[in-house]
Subunit: 705 residues, 2 copies
């Protein structure tokens, strides 16, 4: 049994093995014509020598492409692991019913005309899934291009992309919602000689999701790296478990998530039945698990290919060697932008390099000059000094068309000698050479890119994978007492009380029914104070002029009390008015916003940003799935562009980031505990006081569903 067939027989995603690595396959709508969708899988599997059993089902034929055909599912000699469904849409629901009854574990439905078309299609799709679920059968699709595995010869697909060649064997697995883009990726990989021989395309995802497929690839011992193309996430648990499984197995995921623009998101919704969701939330979830978000298919393949070396440095550093200075500048630019450190060679090692080649630039990027190209006896000691004493985890050689020259084989031999001595480094070549030469260098353990910028981007990604794999488990979220939400949307004061019970502090304040009580409270807090109208019937206080800032002394409090009463009575004659809220006015703090909203896929999501223009004009915010601990909260706070404002920029005191992080973590725990009735929380502003001074919410809104 090929190892793929043995793969993933245990583990959370083992249930997909009959679908993705079956031993026996029925083909419903099997065609004798190898160019038709019911004929292609059979032709491919015969051509590629699939070792399992193939059972064409066709009521009108006794033989299909030389195989015995069966009139119906009931007539099959054994229950197949999986059935390919290539019948017209009108027959597909019945086919699912027949297969389920027979005990088939999975169906792979090519047939289109379901949820992607109209409401009637959605209804038919729902009936098909219901029929399958009643028998415990899983469904891939409908409207999907299927699955293929070049190692086992399992070609449950009608893609025509094999017209131009079969997959290159390799350890990259592809999971794509889009069939067209999945095969586009596979074809690009094949044409570049990149081994990506296992490809799953999920189509409408009426049942099996791309997340589950990623999980199955993560559990598959024949897969080291996963490339995924996603338009919209349909369900969170499978995807989150898949991400966690891959990270635990040290398998990088490189993912394109399209539909990030308004236009793209609309396009995603129009073309299949996908939920585009909130792109920023998806991005946050990917970052949480160290999944690399690729913007282009080239970036995805570059990184996936580099990742197959399985070298993921925890603290990645780049040393670059070249025979001519020009590209060093470019590489330094790209590395800095990618956050990839290029530390200088140690001083004594620089002296050693200078003693070998007097005109060399020994710092890093290291310019060995044309001299080492002309005197090969210099190349090996020079390169070894750089690799050994520079201690770089990643080494990039920019040799460009030197790699096409006659002296290259001799140079490569010297480079390889050094590589063999220090095999734990990631070695990358920026080289222009004929394809067979490039393939040979890759087979020998080099990563090759023509373009140095792309090489650096891929190297930087390896370090981020390493950091994600090595990261200690995050701190647990803070414990919060059980949350009992009120029956209706609470007032500001109630909201603050509810949050205070979870340890989320509001600015000191007091509800005062009379002007004299307000003066006493203000004198207790110290001036200036803020006055706000207090009424369960007035939610948007500032709209009626119900908030007074900078109230400076006792007479001003008295006057302000009267003003607010008058305004409230004028604006809302029927409102129950309970008095005013007197609050200490925070001075010297930095205004922040903390928020929660419910994502339809990922549940409660916390948001952090600086107040005012930072959020509203610059969209300088960060998101995270709830709940999380203070370490994650502190990372979020540090991730915004405006963080220097909290960190002492422009001569300010540093803000109490620890208190802010504690508040954010507690808010996340509260939101997770509150359940789905919680629609949103808005703490705006929150004042982060100078270090040691704490953080206080000056306003709080809780929205309930």
């Amino acid at each position: 049994m090929p190892s793929s067939l043995a793969a993933a027989r245990t583990g959370r995603f083992a249930g997909l093995t009959p679908l993705l690595a079956p031993r026996s396959i029925a083909i419903l709508g099997a065609s004798n014509d190898p160019a038709r969708i019911g004929g292609r899988p059979i032709a491919y599997m015969k051509a590629q020598n699939f070792q399992g059993a193939l059972y064409p089902v066709n009521p009108n034929r006794t033989e299909v492409q030389g195989l015995r055909a069966y009139p119906s599912v009931a007539d099959l000699p054994e229950t197949p692991d999986v059935a390919i469904v290539a019948v017209p849409a009108a027959l597909a629901v019945q086919a699912a019913e027949d297969l389920g009854k027979r005990g088939t574990k999975a169906a792979l439905v090519f047939t289109a005309g379901f949820a992607e078309v109209d409401a009637a299609g959605q209804a038919a799709q729902d009936r098909m899934v219901a029929a399958a679920r009643a028998h415990g059968m899983r469904i891939l699709g409908p409207n999907c291009l299927g699955v293929f595995d070049g190692r086992t010869g399992y070609y449950a697909t009608f893609s025509s992309s094999f017209d131009s060649g079969w997959p290159v064997p390799g350890r990259i697995g592809i999971a794509s919602q889009s069939g067209a883009y999945g095969t586009h990726l596979y074809t690009l990989a094949r044409n570049r000689g990149i081994g990506a021989s296992l490809c799953i395309m999920t189509g409408n995802e009426a049942d099996v999701t791309v997340g589950e497929c990623i999980g199955w690839l993560a559990e598959n011992p024949d897969v080291d790296v996963i490339a995924a193309y996603i338009e919209g996430i349909r369900e969170a648990p499978g995807l989150l478990a898949a991400f966690a499984t891959a990270r635990a197995a040290r398998k990088p995921i490189v993912m394109m998530k399209v539909g990030r623009s308004a236009l793209g998101s609309a396009a995603a919704k129009s073309h299949t039945a996908s939920i585009a969701g909130d792109d920023a939330v998806t991005e946050a979830v990917m970052a949480e698990f160290g999944v690399h978000r690729a913007r282009t298919s080239e970036e995805m393949l570059d990184i996936a290919q580099t990742a197959t070396r399985r070298i993921y440095p925890v603290r990645n550093t780049l040393g670059m060697i070249t025979l001519s200075g020009g590209a060093g500048v470019l590489v330094s630019d790209v590395a800095e932008q990618a956050g990839l450190a290029m530390p200088a060679m140690p001083e004594d090692a620089q002296a050693k390099l200078k003693s070998l080649v007097s005109f060399c630039a020994p710092r890093n990027p290291v310019d060995a000059t044309a001299q080492v190209g002309n005197d090969l006896n210099l190349l090996e000691p020079f390169f070894e000094t750089m690799v050994k004493e520079g201690g770089y985890s990643s080494v990039l050689g920019f040799f460009t068309m030197v790699a096409s020259s006659r002296r290259w084989p001799a140079m490569l031999e010297r480079l390889n000698a050094v590589r063999a001595k220090y095999p734990d480094r990631l070695y990358v070549l920026s080289a222009i050479a004929p394809e067979p030469a490039v393939r040979a260098m890759e087979a020998d353990g080099w990563v090759c890119h023509e373009d140095p910028s792309r090489a650096v981007t891929a190297i930087a990604a390896m370090g981020r994978f390493g950091a994600a794999f090595a990261a200690p488990p995050p701190a647990p979220p803070p414990a919060v007492p059980p949350v009992v939400l009120p029956a209706t949307t609470p007032t500001e004061a109630e909201a603050k009380r509810i949050l205070a019970a979870a340890g989320i502090a509001a600015a000191p304040e007091a509800a005062c029914a009379t002007a004299e009580a307000a003066v006493a409270a203000a004198e207790g807090f110290g001036f200036p104070v803020v006055l706000k109208i207090l009424s369960p019937d007035i939610l948007h206080k500032s709209e009626i002029g119900g908030v007074l800032l900078d109230v400076a002394d006792a007479p001003a409090v008295r006057a302000g009390f009267a003003t607010l009463m008058a305004r409230a009575r004028a604006a809302a004659p029927q409102a129950r008015i309970e008095g005013v809220l007197v609050a200490r006015q925070m001075r010297g703090g930095v205004e922040c916003i903390l928020g929660i909203h419910q994502d339809p896929v990922f549940g409660p999501i916390a948001m952090f940003g600086l107040g005012g223009v930072f959020v509203e004009v610059l969209q300088d915010v960060v998101f995270r799935r709830c709940p999380f601990g203070e370490d994650v909260a502190a990372d979020m706070i540090r991730a915004i562009r405006g963080f220097p404002l909290l960190d002492g920029a422009r001569g300010r005191p540093k803000a109490d980031v620890a208190a802010l992080a504690a508040m954010l973590a507690r808010l996340s725990a509260f939101a997770a505990a509150a359940g789905p009735r919680l629609r949103a929380i808005d703490l705006n502003p929150v004042f982060a006081m100078p270090e040691g001074g704490g953080a206080f919410a000056a306003d709080a809104v809780i929205e309930l569903g």
Copy 2:
């Protein structure tokens, strides 16, 4: 005479024609060995059948590679247009002297060991340039890889990149400071079948600069598109004239400018004698002329290749057609990010598409579905409807591996029929096909990219070129009276007076010698006011507590006057104290910063940003060469990320952007008129008042050199 030889005989850059398109060439240090640097040019030019005269110079040989050799420059039978200098560094200065004496118009110096090495090398380089200039001879290099022109067979280079093939003829010209990167680019282009057969590499730029070479390419009728690789700009006039020449000739420039990071900038300085300069200023100059800044060599070649179609839509729109929805989402994302509009098809045209293919997605991206792939008679009317009625200036077909399928030739025929009817559009294919098929489609007028993201990036660039070519000339800078700078750095009040003479308004203020005068002034302006100490000896007032804000009434003015006097006497007992400056405190304005600094290459540069954190934390600023008019100033103001704050975000009144633009334009004209003694101007803050309210500088510093 090949047209390149006739090129650029007139025009500002015609002086480079003997260097870049010579009729006769001497080779100093000519070698019989075709692998040596003095041998390669001869071998290449013989192999490529250069039609001009070749004169090897070598005192030790009478014949070199079958050509008659001459013992010295003096012995040459005619004065060559250009001489290639491939002699040791010690002999190069004398060689320049000999060539100059002979009347040679240009020398192309391969020899290294000059300014890129040390101070002695710099001195030798200076001597060589002086010797040349004395005779009116131009020098390319030293330390340069030279020039080649695949059309004429002029190969004044010792690059070994021709080991793997000769250039593909074509209309892209390359100019690069780096020899290694220049040939890297050329090789990439050649391997992609992109016609880039003219390549100039400038090395140390002791005399001829890359800017001049770009200018010469812009004047060359054989060149349509210019690709440039630059590490540091050495001189402004040549580059600016080159950019202007190219824009006037509608020739796009695609440029990589490396050294933008701190690390990259350091690397640039270490490797050749280049001035990295201020990257943001260079970027601003590129933007001014519509030069595209490419981040990678692939982006550069993609755009250059696409530009050779010479279709530069002024208002670029993209229509996309595909047989399957997947890539439409991705393309929509990339287009939105690139600022490329993808308007929907008109409603009636959508209905027409639906009537042809009922399941199609007719909006844009247009998903024609697999049906038009299967029924080719549908393809042509479908595509024509889209092209004609969509009216898109650019059309992208995402056909990926369909372009490798057996049905593709028939499909292509249908697409070509439509293309022939609407030849003014830019047609781009995202296709995966064998190289010869791709080349054939390109030769036929398609632009081909495997990757749809790269295709969209290139299409978007064509629109930006079109907009730059069509832009009306900018408004002239405002007239300012002649600027007479004082002998020494002026006080704030003097600075404001000087600027006021140029029409740059300060906030209303009055110098007051007594407390009572200050009260009177404040009552005239209206409260609150700002008080500042007034002393020619105290420049940094806020450091000694010499500025009081929010001074609310007459008693506070009296008290403040006394406070400032006491502080000034305590902090600077020797200072001449003239009283206080009373200024109206601006309320309701948006704080901005306007500034000027001298760039070593481009002269006075204006800067605009919002005040405070926007400049200092977010670096949200924009730069422009001085002087410029109000239209450019308004564009600058609108270009910052925080512009919504000036445009009525968050319920604010809109700011007086017209007044702000007028101030910025006047400041630029003032700076240009002030001459090089002006080091810097800092107007911080400037208050942009609500519309109609003007803009006022609340502080002004002028630094003189």
